[in-house]
């Protein structure tokens, strides 16, 4: 119980730190929403009208900073996220976020799970057949792939599968804009088609980490006494491999998996940018380019909350699974 309370305290403190960073960074640095708006309207709108416009969106630059800060904290927590002052001028931030969220969750979420499952399976086999051909080839390859820049892999894939093949797979957008969105087979097919290349990019660059860590964990686990005992009992190889070794070797990876699920929502900003995939990462890029404070603040908060929730869930699971963690607290 004390352990959980401490974790909850950490959750709140981190949230507060992230929110505070988020509030003060843009305000203490050059560049302001007014000048950004002025640039975008190219001086066609008078400064007074601009200011009035910003004020109607709830932006009060002349208010006391502390008041602004407190209002901001309250608004973030209560979900009064305000109106965008960027590209979609005046649209509620909740709507904008709501439109982008499913794309990121679908693409990055599914790919993260796939990379974890596949990587863990391959790592299990590689570690089990220690010194085998798989074990000899895989590590160096995946050390390299996991150090590749995401966006470069994306560029190569676009080059090969989209440009060279004359548009074999789309390298742009979330679906074919000529199709009306809806639960029709054509739309679903289009969505899947547009997800292939970004998903492949993510998979290629993230699977290596899971393979390597699982392989290393397996090797450690295989040296344990209970594996020898399993062998002595005459259990079948698959039984020892999955039921004894992999089952224990995967435990240390679970917290890493929880973390990476938390990072799903911040998406792969660079990938979404390369593919013009309209998820949350792409949204953040646009918000920053347009000095859209309200949208930036909400996105950064959501990114942090997602990681925190994942970490907290992982802690809960650990306490539930492992009595030693309970005792320690």
């Amino acid at each position: 119980m004390r352990f959980l309370l401490r974790r909850l305290g950490f959750f709140l403190l981190t949230l507060w730190a992230a929110l505070t960073l988020n509030f003060f960074i843009p305000r203490f640095m050059p560049g302001s929403p007014e000048s950004a708006l002025r640039d975008r309207t190219r001086g066609k709108v008078s400064p007074a009208a601009l200011e009035q416009m910003l004020a109607s969106f709830g932006f009060k630059p002349h208010q006391n900073l502390l008041d602004q800060y407190l209002t901001y904290l309250g608004d973030m927590v209560t979900g009064h996220w305000g109106l965008s002052i960027g590209q979609n001028l005046g649209e509620p931030v909740t709507t904008i976020v709501g439109q982008a969220l499913p794309w990121t969750l679908g693409l990055v979420g599914l790919t993260t799970v796939m990379a974890f499952v596949l990587g863990t399976l391959i790592g299990t086999v590689a570690g089990w057949r220690r010194g085998g051909r798989l074990d000899g080839i895989l590590p160096p390859i995946f050390v390299v792939t996991s150090a590749l820049p995401y966006f470069w892999v994306a560029l190569v894939l676009i080059m090969v599968f989209s440009v060279w093949t004359g548009g074999w797979l789309p390298g742009d957008n979330t679906y074919d804009n000529t199709i009306i969105p809806g639960p029709s087979p054509g739309f679903v097919a289009s969505v899947l088609q547009h997800a292939v290349l970004p998903a492949a990019t993510l998979l290629i660059t993230s699977i290596g980490g899971w393979i390597l860590t699982m392989r290393n964990n397996m090797i450690t686990t295989l040296a344990e006494d209970y594996i020898r005992m399993g062998r002595a009992k005459g259990l079948s190889n698959p039984r020892i491999m999955y039921g004894y070794a992999a089952r224990n070797a995967i435990l240390p990876n679970l917290s890493g998996f929880a973390m990476s699920l938390g990072f799903v929502i911040s998406g792969a900003i660079l990938i979404e940018y390369v593919f013009n995939y309209q998820g949350l990462g792409y949204l953040l890029y646009n918000a920053v380019q347009n000095v859209d404070y309200p949208l930036m603040q909400v996105l950064f908060m959501l990114f942090t909350v997602a990681v925190l929730v994942a970490v907290l869930a992982c802690d809960l699971a650990t306490v539930w699974l492992d009595p030693r963690a309970r005792a320690r607290g």
Partner: protein, 308 residues
């Protein structure tokens, strides 16, 4: 225990992965130091040639749509990437050591505060924060980028080093130093740190890799200095000019490949170093369990740096 620099040299000599990484790194270092060896172009950003030339004897990788020699840009860009890797990696590592080791060694309220800070920084999504920071902190000068990378890059190592230092704290050789009446600073610098060399070097390699990838990503998004000579800036301009679609793929692919190669070099040395220093990968049982955790975390760091 003291496997520090000796182990490192050994790792480089006996391991093919480490050799590959070291050779790549050496080549890049030479290119960065003497760009004139490879190209006669003096100013890689000057618009000297007809735009959009295909690769030829005169222009090995062709020219950009603005009329610059792509190969010359690549050569001159090496320096900035290496500087970012080494400087940001080094400063982040120094911060990790300072914060991680003092937290573990001082204990009590210091430890609580410092590890709280570390954990908060670990959880806050770094790449979005870097994007926001570098957008506002003066148009992407190199100093700003280095500062941002260090600020977001130290927490991972600090966490690891704290764990290692905690396990060292009550060892006998430290006890004997305390009994001798040595000062705390002396003990930390001359007794604790040397035993942690291998972890510190590994941390430097991880932080350097993280910095190279993040910096390239930032510049690619247009958040660097658009007039600087660097691979990330090349990527920005090639994307800006739609190099892939207009028949100049090398303009995009070549600088990306260089980033990838430099990243791979750091990753390979790091992994090889791990294999030598980490008995979990050898059939020894006693020390395996404790070190496996470190190896695992290191893998995740690369993932974390990338997955954002």
């Amino acid at each position: 225990m003291r496997s520090g620099s000796n182990g490192f040299r050994q790792a480089l000599r006996g391991n093919r992965k480490a050799m590959t990484g070291a050779v790549i790194l050496l080549v890049f270092t030479v290119v960065a130091a003497f760009p004139g060896l490879l190209t006669s172009v003096k100013d890689p950003n000057a618009l000297l040639y007809p735009p959009g030339l295909q690769p030829s004897g005169a222009h090995w990788l062709g020219t950009t749509s603005l009329g610059q020699d792509i190969f010359a840009q690549l050569v001159y860009g090496t320096r900035q990437s290496l500087i970012i890797a080494v400087v940001a990696g080094a400063f982040a590592t120094v911060l990790s050591v300072l914060i991680g080791v003092s937290a573990a060694y001082l204990g009590g309220i210091f430890d609580d505060l410092l590890s709280m800070l570390t954990n908060v920084m670990l959880v806050i999504p770094a790449f979005p924060l870097i994007i926001i920071l570098s957008k506002y902190a003066g148009k992407g000068s190199l100093t700003v980028m280095l500062a941002v990378l260090v600020a977001t890059g130290w927490s991972y190592g600090a966490n690891q080093l704290r764990a290692q230092a905690l396990s060292l704290r009550n060892r006998e050789f430290l006890e004997s130093a305390r009994v001798r009446g040595e000062r705390r600073s002396y003990i930390i610098v001359f007794e604790v740190l040397p035993t942690m060399t291998s972890l510190i070097v590994a941390n430097f390699l991880g932080a350097a890799l993280y910095s190279v990838l993040s910096a390239a990503g930032l510049q690619f998004l247009g958040l660097g200095d658009p007039n600087s000579s660097s691979w990330g800036t090349m990527l920005y301009w090639s994307q800006n000019q739609q190099a892939l679609l207009t028949g100049m793929p090398l303009w995009s692919l070549a600088p990306g490949l260089c980033v990838a190669l430099l990243g791979a070099a750091f990753a390979l040395i790091n992994y090889a170093f791990d294999e030598i220093g980490n008995p979990a990968l050898r059939p020894v049982r006693a020390r395996a369990a404790s070190k496996a955790g470190i190896a695992r975390k290191r893998g995740q760091r690369v993932q974390r740096a990338e997955s954002q």
